[in-house]
Subunit: 188 residues, 2 copies
DNA sequence: ACCTGAACACCGTTCAAGT
DNA sequence: ACCTGAACACCGTTCAAGT
């Protein structure tokens, strides 16, 4: 006798992300998620291949949300490529601050199986590469890699509490952004 | 009746690091480490408060090793601060390539309890900060944070296989290094 | 002083059985 | 078609007992 799904995808993803942000990635267990959505553990295997699948669900959802934010922001009329990159950098950092646990999954998942699926990750990388291409003369790849390495490293370290020497972290972010955008837009 | 320790600190740390690099951080369990050094699980609690303590042991050891390499390299006579930073960057990247799993612990441990202890981490950060101070005019903190964020992000992404678009990854490293050192040594 | 066996509460995962 | 109870092999951790 056919039976309809008891928990929606939205409920499931919301529960995973809530647990991740409240109690950490390690707290996202089959048990905790199952009991959060009111079901027994084995039922989750109908939705997901294994525990990493739960994390990928959260990562994909975060990627989708971030993509929506990046493309949702109004393209100011006279905005140049450097300005677009700057806006993206702010959005990425704000997202990392708002959802530190899942945003860690976006760029450096504990396992490839917990990383966003290629289909979810690609729309996140593409606009970044496009903006770098538009801003930097010549080969955009080294510039894009420098930019993403820096912003990923900065947000990760900030969220990990690695900036322990005091000082103004916002100012350090601006400094880095200025350095990178300056170098990219300066003709080689 | 007093009894001497059965496994040396060196054996213990070596086993942890070997398991971490061979099978991943998740494979560093009380059980796997205990059986690798030929002892029962509960015995490990004489050496370490909990599982994160095992990871910290590895992280501290990696930090010590890296510090030795950084300070061991011969100070070329006429070397300036930018040259010293460049050498450090090469050393960090080489270490990340050689010991990707534990080097991940160095900068972004899954938990603060698994991060290097302050005493082990400080000698790693200090020479970096000093070199940046010597190279960059003005406040060294933003410059140092930009440098460490970039190099951490680059090495992590490289080791995670995140640079999937082909191209010359070495060239991207040189590009980023040139950009950052150039900006730091240029007067503001 | 160090090590151990036994025990506890917890995991992820599988699978036959229920509806 | 989805859900479940029961079972399995595995964790981390504690602690009283051994030497």
């Amino acid at each position: 006798m056919p039976a309809p799904q008891r928990v929606s995808q939205e409920e499931l993803v919301a529960a995973i992300r809530r647990i991740a942000e409240d109690d950490g990635i390690d707290a996202v267990t089959m048990s905790s998620v199952a009991s959060a959505v009111g079901v027994r553990t084995p039922s989750l295997y109908k939705r997901v291949a294994d525990r990493h699948g739960l994390l990928r669900l959260a990562a994909d959802d975060a990627a989708r949300e971030l993509v929506a934010e990046l493309s949702g922001a109004p393209h100011t009329e006279g905005e140049d490529a450097a300005g677009r990159l700057r806006r993206m950098a702010y959005a990425l950092r704000a997202f990392a601050a708002r959802a530190p646990r899942v945003s860690g999954l976006l760029f450096a998942a504990p396992s490839a199986a917990a990383a966003p699926s290629p289909e979810a990750g690609e729309p996140l990388l593409r606009p970044l590469l496009e903006a770098v291409s538009a801003a930097a003369p010549g080969d955009p790849l080294p510039a894009a890699r420098t930019f993403t390495a820096w912003i990923y490293g900065f947000c990760t370290m900030e969220q990990a509490g690695a900036f322990r020497l005091g000082g103004d972290v916002d100012a350090a972010f601006e400094y880095g952004l200025d350095v990178l955008l300056g170098a990219m837009t300066r003709p080689a």
